[in-house]
């Protein structure tokens, strides 16, 4: 398929701009003036639309099919949310608009804050962070400010992170200027308490934990973990990536966590958009409220205002009040559920356990427990006996019309396949997926070549990632025009049988 630059022809254009009569632009000093025009493509509108439409046909979304990526919570993104986010009163509202002209937006934000406080069991919320990672960093900055206020920041330099943690946790620890300490997971999938006790001392600021963990398992000792930390004067941080498992059933605040980030693009249905946007609001216990980013959205009689008078605030992590368009969608999603939100988590956990029950005999199961909203299998035996890896399984699933699950994460499980169906799927879809996974396990024994050469039915076959890393080509090179006539056309290979 051509790049947009390869469809460009000199003199073509799409945009037709209004040019007010009789106006001249002032002269720009020559040293500041553009010398070479940027090589943006020149296309008429129909070509532009065809190009981008063709690109969408080469992509797979939740709207296309089942997308069981573990820890991503790929649930249905309700279409009504798009409609309400596009209302002119939200969409065309300037962030510097006076408070008087943005009362609807401020009220929405305040209500969303209250809902998140109730769901997490904590006291105060900031919606400002742009994504989960930024929420993590903000939470760690809050920790530093809290301890600095108590004269303990110099001493408390360490943050403990589980070995099963998302890579964002250790990366955020470094960016916040803390030292990383790792704690092990035991054979049952819980934090190893003995290892934890050995690693917590008066130099520890806090612990970052996801519960349920990335193994999809609820830590049975969470209350003891909280006791160990609080006795030591430390704080507990909850990575909200897996919140979909416990809404309305257990609240991170009640588990003992002091700071929580929520992923609006996971639990609360903000569409992933091919990589973003997201929203990473944080909820905190009362004693951490003074340090939250500015401005805060506060009630003022029967109105709302932005409060900038926060002398202990860590400052700002993002412009304005955060990704407002994301708030509109999540708010609409929460209105749809209301107090029935528990059903969302119950069905998420039910769907995951059902798939686990159907698959655990055909694949290796590292932890023999009921799972929460996701579970981890291993292709270890397939690899040992047939040379088939988790990667091969993932590529072959594409031929069956599914997006693969997460592979090679968490790191503690070799040949990991992390599967999260979410609550929005039908039992039929789950059965089709399970049938495909079972068929692939059989193919591993009987026709491994089909797996090794998968996928066969996508616009491209397996891509050379080594070449892409060795000699990184990260932009179109206008000087080199590849002869696209030489490219092989996409073929139809070994089609996976349906309804096995």
């Amino acid at each position: 398929m051509k790049l947009v630059f390869e469809r460009s022809r000199p003199g073509r254009r799409a945009a037709d701009l209004p040019r007010p009569e009789g106006l001249a632009a002032p002269e720009i000093p020559s040293e500041l003036r553009r010398s070479q025009p940027p090589r943006l493509p020149e296309l008429p509108e129909v070509e532009l639309v065809r190009h981008f439409t063709e690109l969408t046909t080469r992509n797979f979304g939740i709207d296309t099919g089942f997308y069981p990526l573990g820890s991503c919570t790929m649930k249905y993104n309700p279409r009504v949310n798009e409609r309400v986010a596009a209302l002119p009163g939200f969409r065309d509202l300037h962030p510097h608009q006076d408070e008087e002209g943005s009362q609807g937006a401020l009220e929405l934000m305040h209500e969303l804050q209250e809902m998140l406080a109730e769901i997490t069991g904590l006291d105060a919320v900031s919606l400002q962070p742009a994504a989960g990672s930024q929420g993590e960093l903000t939470g760690l900055m809050l920790m530093r400010a809290y301890f600095a206020d108590r004269g303990e920041d110099e001493r408390r330099r360490k943050v403990v992170v589980a070995d099963t943690a998302h890579g964002t946790n250790p990366a955020s620890v470094t960016m916040a200027g803390y030292e990383l300490v790792k704690v092990d997971t035991d054979a049952r999938g819980n934090i190893d308490l003995d290892d934890l006790r050995a690693k917590v001392d008066d130099e520890t600021a806090g612990l970052m934990l996801t519960n349920p963990s990335t193994l999809g398992l609820f830590d049975e000792h969470i209350e003891e973990i909280a006791r160990i930390y609080h006795k030591n004067g430390g704080l507990l941080y909850y990575d909200g990536a897996n919140l979909n498992a416990v809404c309305g059933i257990s609240r991170p605040g009640d588990m003992g966590f002091d700071i929580v980030h929520i992923n609006l693009h996971k639990t609360f249905s903000q569409p992933h958009g091919g990589g973003g946007p997201g929203g990473g609001p944080i909820a905190v216990r009362r004693q951490l409220e003074p340090y939250l980013p500015v401005p805060a959205v506060v009630p003022d009689g029967n109105r709302f205002r932005l409060d900038y008078d926060r002398p202990k605030s860590i400052g700002k992590v993002r412009a304005f009040t955060g990704p407002f368009g994301v708030f509109v969608r999540s708010y609409a999603f929460m209105l749809a559920w209301g107090r029935e939100l528990r059903t969302m988590s119950e069905d998420a956990v039910l769907n995951a356990n059902y798939l686990l029950a159907r698959l655990k005999d055909a694949y290796d199961l590292p932890y023999d427990r009921l799972c929460m909203h996701e579970f981890v299998l291993s292709a270890r035996t397939l690899k040992r006996e047939h040379g088939i890896t988790a990667l091969d399984v993932a590529k072959r699933l594409m031929d069956y019309g599914f997006h693969p699950p997460t592979i090679y994460f968490p790191l503690v499980v070799p040949e990991a396949l992390m599967i999260e169906p979410t609550e929005t799927e039908t039992k039929e879809t789950l059965d089709e997926f399970a049938d495909a996974m079972l068929a692939i396990a059989r193919e591993a024994a009987e026709e491994p070549e089909v797996l090794k050469t998968a996928p066969h039915n996508r616009p491209v076959k397996r891509l050379d990632e080594v070449k892409a890393a060795k000699r990184a080509v990260v932009r179109y090179r206008f000087e080199e025009h590849p002869d696209l006539a030489q490219e092989p056309t996409a073929g139809v290979g070994a089609e996976a049988p349906k309804g096995v």
């Binding site: 090679y408 990632e465 080594v466 892409a468 890393a469 060795k470």
Partner: protein
Amino acid sequence: MAAEESYPDELRYHREHDWARIEDGEAVLGITWYAQDALGELVHYEPPEEGATVTKDSAYGEVESVKAVSDVISPLSGEVIEVNQAVVDAPEKVNEDPYGDGWLVRIRLTDPSETDQLLTVEAYQELLSNQ
């Protein structure tokens, strides 16, 4: 094409999967077949500067495949006198010939007695069988 699995007799080994060829007060260092196999095809080598100090059991550089990054651990202490630029330009040489063309650095030893602590090929192969 990756090399066949081998662990030459005349080299000494370190538990972090590095080897050393001792030559008269100097040593040539690299990573073993096991290490390059675990990483996959290398796409990048981040070497130390010439003249840099390396310390036994500490990292002196990094190697990367598409999916992983690994510190390269020095089995011995010394000063870097040569970096293998050919590997910087074509990291896959480490996969093709981990003990020959795929060498990473040459150092002048600051404490030759450290060589006594290195593993023989038999000891290293035993360590591998317990992995």
